[in-house]
């Protein structure tokens, strides 16, 4: 896994190096320009060259060797003055737009994203799992057929269409929720009122997100439950005279859990990338919004860090899936 992470970080870094941006050059430029006008053209050029070299050495771009640059970025190859300053030393880069360390820039949106996504995930799981189970148990019934149709629509449509649709229904027609934003503009609530205001603004994105993730999840739960219900052990359990509830929730559910776990864990990540669209749509100050903003303003240090964060998340979820597998299904033991 570490190898995968390393290779990916290398690929990412190389891709970002394709961008024709030269931080040392711009920094030296601004500094030269900030000097008073007393300098002649020659002095100016000389000063610029000096500063340029200084900044290049500081940022570790004084070599054209991409590999050395990469190693410096990671923080395992010394800079010109022999010091290390890379990811491992906690230097995550510098945001031009915010004029601040990337880490500080990312914190606030990250909080928002996590805040919303936790709600959305809990809500979606809370609805889709029982719904999937009911549909599987009552397979072929009217309810099941209805849910099947709704869910196929649900997972076939791009999320932004739902967002548009929900804004239309809830904001334009019913007027229940504000269409965008995080809090009432100009307000400065504290305590309970702050949270209520926040929930009021988050309600619509939350509903939309939950709804969007219902489709695929419900179908998946239903499919794996149906498979589990057709197992021999269920017949045995029923023949034993166990109560239907016990059969479903204890015997069948346990067996259906394995594929579901895969999805649930992978799905945390899905919500991260899905929130790109939602945050854009509802003007929420989250990770996705930050990412798009940074991309638009070519603030690539931020993007690079966020990309690494996404990669980490996905690798982490792989790991968690493996571990949870073992917990859920004792037959699976990863012992390689």
């Amino acid at each position: 896994m570490m190898v995968v992470l390393l290779i990916l970080s290398f690929i990412m870094f190389m891709i970002y190096n394709l961008v024709p941006s030269n931080r040392a050059y711009t920094d030296a430029r601004t500094e030269v320009q900030s000097y008073k006008k007393g300098l002649t053209e020659e002095q100016r050029n000389q000063l610029f060259d000096e500063l340029y070299l200084k900044y290049q050495r500081r940022y570790g771009t004084d070599t054209d060797n991409k590999i050395i640059r990469y190693l410096r970025w990671i923080g395992v190859y010394p800079l010109y003055d022999g010091s290390y300053n890379g990811l491992l030393q906690g230097n995550f880069g510098y945001s031009y737009e915010a004029k601040d360390e990337v880490v500080n820039v990312v914190v606030a949106p990250m909080k928002n994203t996590i805040f919303i996504n936790i709600f959305a995930t809990i809500l979606a799981l809370g609805i889709s799992i029982p719904l999937g189970i009911i549909c599987a148990v009552k397979k072929g019934s009217k309810l099941d057929q209805g849910v099947q149709i709704i869910t196929i629509v649900g997972y076939s449509l791009p999320t932004f269409i739902f967002a548009i649709l929900f804004i239309w229904i809830f904001c334009s027609i019913l007027g229940w929720f504000p269409p965008s934003g995080m809090k009432t503009p100009g307000s400065n609530y504290t305590g309970m009122k702050y949270w209520l205001d926040r929930l009021y603004y988050i309600a619509l994105p939350l509903i939309t997100m939950t709804f969007c993730s219902l489709g695929g999840m419900t179908r998946y739960v239903r499919a794996s439950m149906i498979e589990a219900l057709s197992m021999d052990c269920i017949k045995t359990a029923r023949a034993k005279g166990l109560r239907e509830k016990v059969v479903i929730y204890s015997h069948a559910w346990r067996n259906a859990l394995i594929p579901i776990v895969t999805l649930v864990v992978g799905w945390f990540l899905g919500i991260f990338s899905g929130s790109l669209i939602f945050e854009q749509m509802f003007a929420l100050n989250g990770m996705g919004d930050l990412m798009i903003k940074s991309l638009r303003t070519a603030d690539y240090d931020v993007v690079l860090l966020m990309q690494m964060f996404y990669v980490m998340m996905s690798l982490l979820s792989n790991l968690i899936i493996d571990i949870v597998y073992g917990l859920v299904d004792p037959r699976v033991r990863v012992n390689k």
Binding site: I161, L276, Q307, S314
Partner: protein, 653 residues
């Protein structure tokens, strides 16, 4: 029972099993064939798995319907654009922004049809008055986000006898036979004064003169009533000019507030134009405008003064960006800006000349002394294709993109031009229906190419990895893992954003987007194929193939691959929908295909604010509808295919 089961297993294993057990296959095959021929009733009919799958598929009514829809969509997006010869990606039209869907722009009300006094239009609606003095409004008459409907004609106008009307972009001016001036429609930018008591202190508005607001004017003395973009003008015979409206819409508005002695006035899109008594040039109050004339739309321009010579300008007709001048010798000429590919004015015989010319936004319609009607100028909506039956008219009216020919008795004998927009227009004024057709082609092409790329990579890697196993498998699966760990949407965003930093042509960019989509989405398929191949290669027929000395590659691709084809087919279908969605999301976020080139995703980009969502529902409903129906149907087909091709889920049913 066993026979039945055999039917379901794919064809090749059957064949190989037979070979494995019975040796020579030719005789056996013949034998089977003969048996089939001899007693069909005895043994169940043997059908190929493909046939069987097809039959099963046909049993699912919903899937068949979905399949039809998908095919229809394909045909629509690939064939319909061929008929839209006038379609241009970057088409914009300022007077046709946000027009509601409908085909009623030329549907003249029945009461007006046989009794026309005059018809006028400027934007998306037309206004007409009949010989009884009754006013009618048709077309898309609801003004933008204001909810003001021009078709709500005020009570006093309906009760009065109207002599003349003129339509602006969002308001109507009518003058009654008694000389009272009525206005209705949008009033917020000074088009007219709705509340006489409201303060009139906006420096950007020229307010409607008091004598028009409270008094009356002599109708017989009115030389011209004209409306432009949020402006109106009344020119009297004695040269008095009443001009009011939004000053910001015309750069030379102020010049006209002080000018006197005009003999004609009109509004182009950007300038007010007038004609002074010397009749040697077009008066705009600004130098260098409309200074070059051309004898016809397809001829070279020369200086107006030298072109005129001794002739003078009798009158002019004003279109959007150019003017048609009627000269004192009965000929016409054109001044202003001209696009290419215009329908030129006809060369008239010696004794024929234009008696009156009407103008739309980009075209003119002329009526000659012999009653012939000719249209010339831009022909995007066939507004310059005058029908034969229009000949014999005694009056022609044009406005925006429509033409009406009326005979002596006031009967409407022909109308031609733009009927309306089936799906409305977007915020640039382009027809959404045409953009949907053209955008669909782009969306589907991107989806298809991306799927082809991803499946080629996926199949090759899956097959190799599954068949060879061991170290190769190990390595390839690590590669797959790397690709699978890349979060899809953010990464695609970054790549396309990086691409926009480079100088690439739009076609190249689109191709790279396809490649990105393809390269990032093959991992699922590769794993699936690998799993299937791992199972398939343990089968006896593979063993026998090996025993017969068939090469490894041949076994992998020729013997094993056909057995996993069903899985591939299903994944392909579902992936196609996914790729379309991803492309749409990318374009929607502004990182895919860019405006003006349409795709279903970037057409929805304009709909990401609540104003558009609320007021211009047609700008997103139709596009998302098309996208939704297509992807839903593809998914239904894919799901059904899986049910049909996968024997396991068949048993489940």
């Amino acid at each position: 029972m066993s026979e039945k089961k055999n039917n379901r297993t794919p064809f090749h294993p059957l064949n190989w099993l037979k070979r494995a057990f019975f040796g020579g296959s030719k005789e056996f095959a013949d034998q089977m064939e003969n048996r089939k021929k001899d007693d069909v009733n005895d043994v169940e009919e043997i059908v190929t798995p493909a046939k069987q799958a097809f039959r099963n598929f046909m049993e699912h009514k919903l899937a068949v319907a979905a399949m039809c829809v998908v095919i229809a969509m394909f045909l629509f997006v690939f064939i319909a654009p061929l008929f839209m010869t006038n379609y241009k990606d970057a088409y914009t039209e300022v007077t046709q922004k946000n027009v509601r869907p409908g085909l009623d722009m030329m549907s003249v009300p029945a009461e007006l049809k046989n009794n026309v006094r005059m018809i006028d239009s400027y934007g998306s609606f037309s206004v007409g008055v009949n010989n009884d003095g009754k006013v009618f409004v048709w077309g898309d008459s609801v003004i933008g986000t204001t909810k003001i409907d021009v078709a709500d004609i005020p009570e006093e106008v309906l009760n009065d006898k109207i002599a003349m009307v003129a339509a602006g972009i969002d308001h109507v001016v009518a003058i009654s036979e008694a000389g009272k001036v009525y206005c209705w429609g949008n009033y917020k930018l000074g088009q007219y004064i709705k509340d006489p008591d409201a303060p009139r202190d906006n420096p950007n508005i020229a307010y409607m003169p008091d004598e028009l607001l409270n008094g009356t004017i002599d109708v017989s003395q009115i030389k011209k009533l004209a409306c432009g973009y949020q402006c109106s003008a009344i020119l009297m015979q004695d040269g008095t000019l009443y001009l009011w409206g939004n000053k910001n819409t015309y750069a030379n508005f102020n010049n006209f507030l002080s000018v006197s002695g005009l003999t004609d006035i009109g509004f182009t899109i950007n300038y007010i134009v007038g004609l002074q008594e010397d009749a040697k040039s077009v008066y705009t109050g600004t130098r260098g405008l409309f200074g070059e004339a051309r004898a016809n739309l397809d001829q070279k321009a020369e200086k107006l003064s030298s072109f005129l010579g001794k002739r003078t300008i009798e009158s002019f007709t004003v279109a959007g960006v150019n003017l048609c001048l009627q000269l004192s010798d009965g000929s016409i000429c054109f001044v202003g800006d001209f696009r290419s590919n215009l329908v030129p004015a006809p060369v008239l015989p010696e004794d024929e000349y234009f008696v009156s010319i009407a103008a739309g936004t980009y075209h003119y319609t002329g009526l000659t002394n012999k009653g012939n009607v000719y249209s010339f100028g831009e022909n995007t909506f066939n507004q310059s294709t005058a029908p034969k039956k229009a000949n014999g008219a005694s009056q022609v009216y044009s406005g925006a993109f429509q033409n009406y020919a009326v005979d002596d008795s006031g009967k409407l004998i022909a109308k031609w031009g733009l009927k309306g927009y089936l799906f409305g227009t977007d915020s640039y004024g382009a027809d959404i229906f045409q953009r949907i057709a053209n955008g669909g082609r782009m969306t589907m092409t991107i989806g298809a190419v991306a799927v082809i790329i991803s499946s080629i990579i996926g199949i090759i890697i899956g097959c190799i990895s599954g068949y060879f196993g061991g170290k190769v498998d190990m390595f390839l699966m690590r590669v797959t893992e790397i690709f699978a760990a890349i979060p899809f949407l953010p990464f695609a965003l970054i790549l396309s954003s990086l691409m926009s930093q480079m100088t690439l042509s739009e076609n190249m960019r689109i191709f790279i987007i396809m490649v990105i989509l393809g390269v990032l989405s093959w991992t699922g398929l590769a794993r699936l194929v690998r799993g299937q191949v791992l199972v398939a290669r343990e089968n006896e027929y593979v063993l026998s193939a090996k025993a017969m000395g068939v090469s490894a590659a041949r076994i992998a691709f020729k013997h094993i691959l056909p057995n996993v084809i069903s899985v591939i087919l299903v994944t392909l279908t579902l992936d196609f929908a996914t790729c379309m969605l991803t492309e749409s999301s990318l374009s929607y976020l502004g990182f895919g295909v860019n405006y003006p080139r349409p795709t279903w995703g970037n057409m929805l980009e304009g709909a990401n604010n609540s104003t558009v969502i609320k007021n211009y529902w047609w700008q997103w409903v139709f596009t998302s509808g098309f996208l939704a129906v297509t992807t839903i149907c593809i998914n239904i087909v894919g799901d059904t295919l899986r049910d049909v091709l996968d024997p396991k889920s068949n048993i489940d049913k």
